[in-house]
Symmetry: C2
Subunit: 577 residues, 2 copies
């Protein structure tokens, strides 16, 4: 029986409840955003008792649909002040779905100074005092694994979450029980910390895949969907061999790789910090290194390689493209091993690499360190777990760092750091940054597809033409994808291979006994976006918040020497339907 | 001839221009808010080139009207993100008025790393390289006085302004050429720093009082006005003998003195940090100490005493009530000499005592220091001028400090720290904090009058009844007072002695050849507020920003054990007419 688990941190009561009618039809982002919209006071203090933290697997979670086991985390964000959904790979999404947990809703806050961990089994849930308070994610998970075993998945916050830093993430263990997968953006880890919840231990027992309304139809559609993913070159070769870091050289070539705090679109040493370099070093060194590693059960794209040190020992996961960018070009650093170390620190202390890397670039612009000072950056990164003032500033992300250090050029929208695509050279991405209810976020409308990769059509990245429509359609589609629990990377196949979307719809119908058509999908995306926009409106957001910082409009970006010139009126038309 | 001086920091051009028709009728806050409304892009980066910094004396500045020489500073605030007017005493307002400078508008930004000082004489203005870069206000002013002499007044920023900290102030010298008077709130000093402007040297030469349209009528009205001020007990005795710190014991008694980061309304050691104690120690020690000291020419209230050390030497100015509160009860500190030292540090490095003191309370709540740790607080305060991470956090004010340290109970509205009146025990003040376009600000609608002092009527401070109307009327009246360049403290007399307002109107008419009536005054206030609200609306503010933090609604405040319970609908009705 599918249930919602409510956990009251003030009373430590855990109760399973039937899924109310209004929460039945959605999963993943759609469900977290619906619950936050209905249950959280939009003007509340994000770290206070009126905020809620919601975990939800997607509509296709717990099936054998490829790449469908992501988990969504929702709340009011302490970083942006608006609604937040951050999703992650790892094993927990699939586990929750199989266990029939439609959502976990963490409510109220624990008494001051008390830390708990949630023991979650099939139809059982209990808050007990935390075993790992004060530990970062790697040591914390190791200790929990010792106690609870290897069949569980683990959801934890590191010290950054305990400190309630605005860029704190929530970590989810991968198949090897490493805390490498994160709901990174928007400070969801700070909300978990504010509630006094240090960890969730998810023991799926011997649960099997979720029941299907029509097994045969599902199996047939799942096969078609898998075929699309194994056919498309991005999902079967590019991401698989080079990870998301395949983009470093591509964005450099396109002149849209933000370098030294968004002051250039190209980075001379791009090859040194590229996906090709990850691939080469991993193959050369062998040992525990892995090319083509999937972060969750059911992944057939396998972008999450494992990086070995010179002795072949596990050194860290392959940094994502955005991580390589943030600590590489954006900070002027060309040492890929150091970037792997920074990434490992982020995974360990539990912070978003984009916002912390963005903050590093901002602090370099402020003169705290020189651009390119890799050793200095390592020292700063190590301050986060210590809880020193500079560590906390860094762990609070680019906007806070910019404010504390009086920096004029701060690449952030709604308080959230811009990711690795300069909006002057990839204008569709700029439209998404400005308008998504999430704050600057590449994933919520990934216009790099048509702007740079010629996936799903071609739109000139340097022109404003077509960018509004492109961003709108991608934002709608993404909200639907995130609701299904699908990895966003399936979108590459979906955008180019018509049968992929048809297969998803067929799976949804076969799983839930629905009669959706392909044409209904945008309606789902719009519904989710409307919930998010409504929350943000009530939290005080207006069109004035849907703007990029001045410097993107004032400073032409080399090499193309373009500014961001999508008009305010165009931006205000993006999320209208 | 009255002129507007425009100073372009990018080109270093200074040009006097005739006052355009639309800028002719207002002064002080009315004029700064009008210019900011008309000329500043509401969504601009506050520290960027599109912001402007405006200085303006009031409509009665440069006359012999009592207490009319204040100076207003306007801009988009880096602290709140909205429009800001902060005004100050000192000599500069009177000087500018006499020199016929209707306003100074600082535009654009100096090239990176360049610092200038503005030499302003009668009909002359020139930007020259700064002589005092890197110095705090006391040393900086001393060096400028050496060069430019004792007849000038000096407008400076300390290191906090150079660092562009969100709580940085702008200092104005008093009659003894000490940088003790500050436009404190909203980070106006950061905006001055962002422009590369370190100081303004104002040389009034031998200018006399401004010309009057009707000398006799003016003299007669000025006399009536002065009589009201010397008659009312608050303006002739309370403030004169005890400074604004007369309020410490009164607010303690009322149970509205926020103690240990707004967790109690009473402070056991209130007498140790009271105005009575300032008076007693100043009299006992003698020497350079002064009771009844006026901060600007024409002041007859004389609240700004001078505090002597044990040897009778100048130790600092009498801290304002809000300063004594912030570093005293709010931080749990009961050592008045230490508070004088913190206040002197604030004057020197150039920061707002309310926001920095509020930040200190927040950092104590975060456990950085223990409440009451006076030595530890001194150490932290000294970090501001050093530019260390913790110093910058402290100098960024309560909201930023709360964000960096993950604090749940942050007493701020629109990013600005609440002053020294707990909104649960002085509910009219809470209404003002929530709704003023300035962010939490006591001066913009000082309901303490009727709530606590029985000035201008009596409204029960613990009840919501009548608070909306009270705050509305006071906000309107204050906007008019600030437009005249009058010290807000004249309001005590104006609220109780009907002829005081009539006298102000008669002076305005006699000065400018107008035919205003007393009934026209609210229209002026509403006009100014409308300009400010319009700017904020375009900057992205909505009713959702007119709210107090949750904890004021959730936590009853001892000893009265009341929460803030003015409804959202009531708050939304305050600035409607």
């Amino acid at each position: 029986m599918v249930k919602i688990l409510r956990v009251n941190m003030a009373t430590q009561e855990c109760s399973f409840q039937d899924v109310p009618e209004q929460y039945a039809g959605l999963g993943g982002r759609g469900l977290t955003s619906l619950i936050v919209n209905k249950e959280v006071k939009p003007t509340c203090t994000p770290l206070g008792k009126h905020n809620k933290l919601v975990f939800a697997p997607g509509l296709l979670g717990g099936t054998n649909c490829a790449n469908a086991n992501r988990i969504s985390v929702g709340c009011k964000s302490p970083l942006t002040g608006g609604i937040k959904e951050a999703n992650s790979g790892g094993q927990s999404g699939g586990h929750l779905a199989k266990m029939g947990v439609h959502a976990i809703v963490i409510e109220d806050i624990a008494p001051e100074g008390q830390w708990y961990q949630l023991e979650l089994g099939v139809d059982s849930a209990k808050l007990v005092p935390s075993d790992i308070t004060g530990l970062d994610n790697y040591a914390g998970v190791a200790k929990l694994v010792e106690k609870y075993g290897k069949e569980c998945s683990y959801v934890t916050i590191g010290r950054a979450g305990e400190f309630k830093l605005s860029a704190a993430s929530i970590a989810f263990t991968d198949r090897e029980l490493r805390p490498t997968r994160h709901a990174g953006r928007g400070g969801v880890g700070a909300v978990m910390g504010s509630k006094g919840l240090k960890a969730i231990i998810i023991n799926p027992g011997d649960t099997k895949n979720v029941p299907l309304k029509d097994k045969e139809a599902f199996a047939e559609a799942a096969k078609r969907f898998a075929k699309a993913l194994t056919t498309h070159p991005v999902t079967s070769q590019g991401l698989t061999n080079y990870g998301t870091a395949v983009l470093v050289n591509i964005l450099h070539e396109a002149g849209g790789l933000p370098t030294r705090n968004f002051s250039n679109g190209r980075f001379d040493d791009h090859e040194a910090v590229s996906g090709e370099m990850l691939n080469q070093l991993t193959k050369e060194r062998g040992g525990e290194g892995v090319v083509a590693h999937g972060c969750m059960t059911g992944c057939i794209i396998r972008c999450s390689g494992i990086f070995p040190d010179k002795n072949g020992k596990f050194m860290g996961k392959w940094p994502e493209y955005e991580t390589l960018w943030a600590f590489g070009p954006d900070s002027g650093i060309n040492d890929i091993e150091m970037i792997v170390r920074y990434d490992k620190i982020c995974d360990d202390v539990g912070v978003d690499t984009i916002d912390v890397g963005g903050a590093l670039g901002v602090l370099m612009e402020a003169g705290v360190l020189k651009f390119g000072d890799a050793e200095g950056a390592l020292g700063l990164m190590e301050e986060i777990s210590k809880g020193s003032a500079i560590g906390r500033v860094l762990g609070s992300g680019a906007a806070v760092a910019g404010k504390v250090y009086g920096v004029r050029r701060v690449p952030a929208v709604k308080g959230q750091s811009l990711p690795a695509y300069d909006p002057r050279a990839v204008k569709g991405q700029g439209v998404t940054y400005a308008t998504t209810p999430m704050g600057a976020d590449h994933t919520s409308g990934y216009a790099v597809t048509a702007n740079i990769l010629s996936v799903g059509g071609t739109v000139d990245p340097l022109s404003t033409n077509g960018q509004v429509e492109l961003s709108r359609n991608l934002q709608i589609a993404t909200a639907a994808v995130d609701t299904c629990g699908l990895c966003l990377f399936v979108a590459f196949a979906v955008l180019d291979i018509p049968d992929a979307l048809a297969a998803i719809v067929d799976m949804l119908n076969a799983r839930h006994g629905l009669t959706l058509k392909v044409d209904d999908v945008p309606g789902v995306g719009k519904l989710v976006l409307d919930l998010e926009l409504d929350f943000n409106r009530r939290a005080g957001f207006t069109n004035a918040h849907d703007r990029l910082p001045d410097f993107f409009l004032d400073e032409p970006l080399p090499p193309h020497n373009k500014v961001f010139d999508v008009t305010d009126a165009e931006l205000d038309s993006v999320l209208k339907w």
